[in-house]
Amino acid sequence: MAKEMVAMLLAGGQGSRLYALTQNLAKPAVPFGGKYRIIDFPISNCVNSGIDTVGVLTQYQPVELNNYIGNGQPWDLDRLYGGIHVLPPYQKASGSDWFKGTANAIYQHIAFIEKYDPQYVIILSGDQICKQDYNDFLQFHKAKNAEFSVAVMEVPWDDASRFGLMVTDENDKITEFQEKPKNPKSNLASMGIYIFNWDILKKYLIEDEADPESENDFGNNIIPNLLRDERRMYAYRFDGYWKDVGTIGSLWEANMEVLDPENSGIDLFDEDWKIYSRNSGHTGHRIAPSAVVEDSMITDGCDVKGTVKHSILYAGVTVEEGAVVEDAVVMGGCTIKAGAVVKHCILGENVEVGENAVVGEHPAGGGIGDVAHVGPGLKIGANAVVGPTAKVYEDVKEGEKC
C-alpha cells in the first residue's frame, strides 16, 4: 500500500542563536505560544493536511525531542501503517555518519521513505512557526506537473538579500536561484519547504552523495543541480503567517504576536486548523483576588496572585503576590516569587525568580530592542538583577547583578 506523500521533517537544528534556551534542547523542541513546542506546528500542519507518515530527522540534543514525540499519539500519529518516526543518524555496516547536511540527512533515510513507496516527498523545517496547508501546496505541485516545488514568501525588497531567492517567470516556473545575493533579482524567499517527486529526489540525493565536493545541502547543492538539469521547478507562493524563530528576539516577538492574533496573523484559536501538542495534565489555571491580568495568555496549571500584563504564561507557572510580569514569555513550571519584576524577556522552563529580583527591562527606545533570557531550570536569587542584554546560563546568586 503506497502513500501519496510522506513528510520528512528536519529537526536536527541546534538553534545556537537561542543561546541558553537550546543548551540541552533541540531548537524544534523549544516551547512556544503557551502550550506548544515549535515542532507542533509542522506536525499539526501535516495531520491537518492529511499526511499521516512523518519522519523526524534528529541529531542535536535529541532526548527531550524524542520523549516529546513519543508514539505520536497527541497528533493522532500513532498509526498501524505510517505514523510519526524519529530518525536519528545511525551506524551502518560500513561507516557511520552524523548528518553532514540537510540532503545527507534525507539520504541516510532513503530506506524509510522507500518503505512507503510514495509519489511525493515533502521536506519540512522544524524551526518555523507557520500554519500551512501542505495539501494545497501538493495540488499546486500536481497542477504544474512539477518535479520540484518550493514554498516561497514575498519579502520586502530591502530584506531580500538575507534570503535564498527564487527567480521565476510569469508561470511561477523557477529560472534561477540566488542564495543571499547582493543584488536580488526577486523578492520570493524560500521557506525551506519543498515538494519533490520521489523518483527525482532519490536520484539527486544519490548523485549528490557521490559528489565528494558537495556540502550535501538542499539550498547549496540539490536545488542548483536541479536547475542545471532544467528540471520542472516551480515556486508556490504562501502569504500566511511565517516566522523563523531562530533568535531570542524573533522568538520573543513571535510569542508577543500570538497575543495579538487580529493584527499579527498568527491565530491559535482557529478551530479548523488546530495545533496539537502533548498535554501538561495540569488542572485549570487560577487567578486570585489579588491578581491583575491584562492582555495575556494563561495556560493550565498557572497560579496567578500578582500582576501579569501583555505576557504569555505557559503551563504551571506561579506568579506570587506583588510580583510583576510584563511583556514576558514565561515558560512552563516557572515560579516568580513575591515582589519580583520580570519584563521584556524569556524565561526558560522551570526557572525560579527569587523575591524582589529583577529580570530584564523595557528598551529605552521602544521596539524589540534587547530581550534578556534565562536558561531552563536556573535560579535567580532574591534581589538579584538580570540586565536587559543578559544571556543567563548559570544560577544568579542572591543580590548579584548580571
Binding site: 491559535l268 485549570g284 487560577r286 486570585a288 505557559y314
Partner: protein, 382 residues
C-alpha cells in the same frame, strides 16, 4: 508512586449512573459520571485516575442509561493509560450480553456481569460510584483491607448527612448509608438515617475479594434482592467481617445542584485545590484548546479557568470550563460556566450555572442567588 498494588491484584468496578436522580438537570443528556467538574474534568476522571495511579488497570463501568457522553469521554481509555490488551477501561452498556439488562441496584448490576467477574484473575474488586470527587490512594485502602483480613472494607468519612438527603423523599429514591464503627469494625449499617451531627458517612467505596463478591451477589440475586448495602451487607453485619476505612482527605460529594455549585466554587480557594489535586495527577480527555486569552479590558478576580477561553469582559468568583467566551462589557460573577458557553456583549450573569454550549445573547441579565442558582440547560440560547 507509592502504594501501587501489585499488578493484577485488584480490578475496579464503577457505577456511573449512581445518584443520577439527585441532579436531574445535569443528567438530562448524560449520566453522573460525565458531569463536567472543576473547569476541565468530568466527575469520573477522579475515581478512574485514582484507581489507575494505584495500579488498577482493569476497570469496568457498568452503565445503566444515557451513557453516550461517557463513552465519548473515555474513548479507548488512553488518556488514563488504560488502553490495554488485557483489562484496560471497559464501558459495559445494558444488553451488551443476554444477561446484561437495565439493572436496579448494585446486586443486579454485578450479577449481570458475573461471567466477566468469574473469568478475571484479580483477587480483589474495588467498587465506587462516580459522584464522589476525591483523590484516594486505593493502594492504601487495599493494603488496609489485606492487613485487617476483613471480608469487606468500606471507605467512609466523618461528616454530617447532606441536608437534601434528610428532606422527605421527593422524586428521588436514592439510598445512602451511615455506619456505626467500633475500632475499625462496622457494627451497624443504617439506610437513609436522619441523624443530625457528624456521622460515619459511607462513601460507597468497597474492597472485597472477587470470589466472595460473586458468592454474595449470587445468593442475593436469587432471592430477588437489588441493593448491596441494604440487602447483603446490613443483614449479614454479624456474619461478615466488615471493616471501615476512614478517609480524611479532600472530598466533594455531588448530591444536588447546590452541592454541584458549591463544590466547584470551593475549589477557588487555593488550599482546597491543592488538597484535591495534591495527592496525584488527575487525567481527562484532551481537547487541544489554545491557552486562555485575556484581551485588553478584561478584568478577572478569583477565577479558575481552563484552556481555550477568551475573556474580554469582567469575571469574578467563577469557574470557567474549556472554551468559554466572555465578550466585552459582559459581567460574570459567582458563576459556573461549562464548556463553550458564550456570554454576549454587556450581558450580566450572577449565580448562574450554564451547561455546555449555552449562548447568552448581548445585554441579557440572569441573576440567581447564593442558595438557588439559575441553571441554563445544554445548547440553550438566552
Amino acid at each position: 508512586m507509592l502504594n501501587k498494588v501489585i499488578n493484577n491484584e485488584a480490578l475496579g468496578v464503577i457505577f456511573p449512573n449512581s445518584y443520577d436522580g439527585l441532579v436531574p438537570e445535569l443528567v438530562k443528556e448524560r449520566l453522573m459520571a460525565s458531569i463536567p467538574f472543576a473547569s476541565r474534568y468530568r466527575l469520573v476522571d477522579f475515581v478512574i485516575s485514582s484507581m489507575a495511579r494505584a495500579g488498577i488497570d482493569n476497570i469496568s463501568l457498568i452503565a445503566r442509561e444515557n451513557y453516550l457522553s461517557l463513552m465519548d469521554h473515555l474513548g479507548s481509555g488512553r488518556e488514563w493509560d488504560l488502553a490495554r490488551k488485557n483489562g484496560g477501561l471497559n464501558v459495559i452498556p445494558p444488553y451488551a450480553q443476554k444477561t446484561i439488562k437495565v439493572y436496579n441496584g448494585r446486586v443486579e448490576a454485578l450479577e449481570s456481569i458475573k461471567s466477566f467477574l468469574v473469568s478475571q484473575k484479580e483477587k480483589y474488586v474495588v467498587m465506587s460510584d462516580a459522584n464522589v470527587v476525591a483523590n484516594i490512594n486505593y493502594g492504601e485502602v487495599i493494603e488496609a483491607h489485606k492487613k485487617s483480613g476483613a471480608d469487606v472494607t468500606v471507605v467512609y468519612r466523618k461528616q454530617e448527612i447532606p441536608e437534601n438527603f434528610k428532606k422527605p423523599l421527593g422524586t428521588n429514591h436514592d439510598l445512602y448509608y451511615t455506619l456505626d464503627v467500633e475500632g475499625n469494625r462496622v457494627t451497624q449499617l443504617f439506610v437513609n438515617s436522619k441523624r443530625d451531627g457528624e456521622v460515619n458517612f459511607s462513601m460507597n467505596i468497597y474492597v472485597i475479594e472477587r470470589e466472595l463478591l460473586i458468592r454474595l451477589i449470587d445468593e442475593a440475586y436469587v432471592l430477588g434482592f437489588t441493593c448491596f448495602e441494604r440487602d447483603v451487607l446490613a443483614p449479614q453485619i454479624d456474619m461478615l467481617d466488615i471493616q471501615g476505612y476512614c478517609y480524611d482527605g479532600y472530598v466533594a460529594f455531588i448530591h444536588d445542584m447546590k452541592s454541584y455549585f458549591d463544590e466547584n466554587m470551593r475549589l477557588l480557594e487555593a488550599d482546597n485545590l491543592d488538597a484535591l489535586f495534591g495527592p496525584g495527577p488527575v487525567w481527562t480527555k484532551i481537547r487541544d484548546d489554545n491557552p486562555t486569552r485575556y484581551i485588553k479590558g478584561a478584568k478577572v478576580s478569583n477565577v479558575m479557568a481552563a484552556d481555550g477561553c477568551v475573556i474580554e469582559g469582567e469575571v469574578e468568583n467563577s469557574v470557567l470550563f474549556r472554551g468559554v467566551k466572555v465578550a466585552k462589557g459582559a459581567k460574570v460573577k459567582n458563576c459556573v460556566l461549562m464548556q463553550d458557553t458564550v456570554v454576549g456583549e454587556g450581558a450580566n450573569l450572577e449565580y448562574v450555572i450554564t451547561d455546555k454550549d449555552v449562548t447568552i445573547t448581548s445585554g441579557k441579565s440572569l441573576v440567581g442567588t447564593d442558595s438557588f442558582q439559575v441553571f441554563v440547560a445544554k445548547k440553550q440560547t438566552v
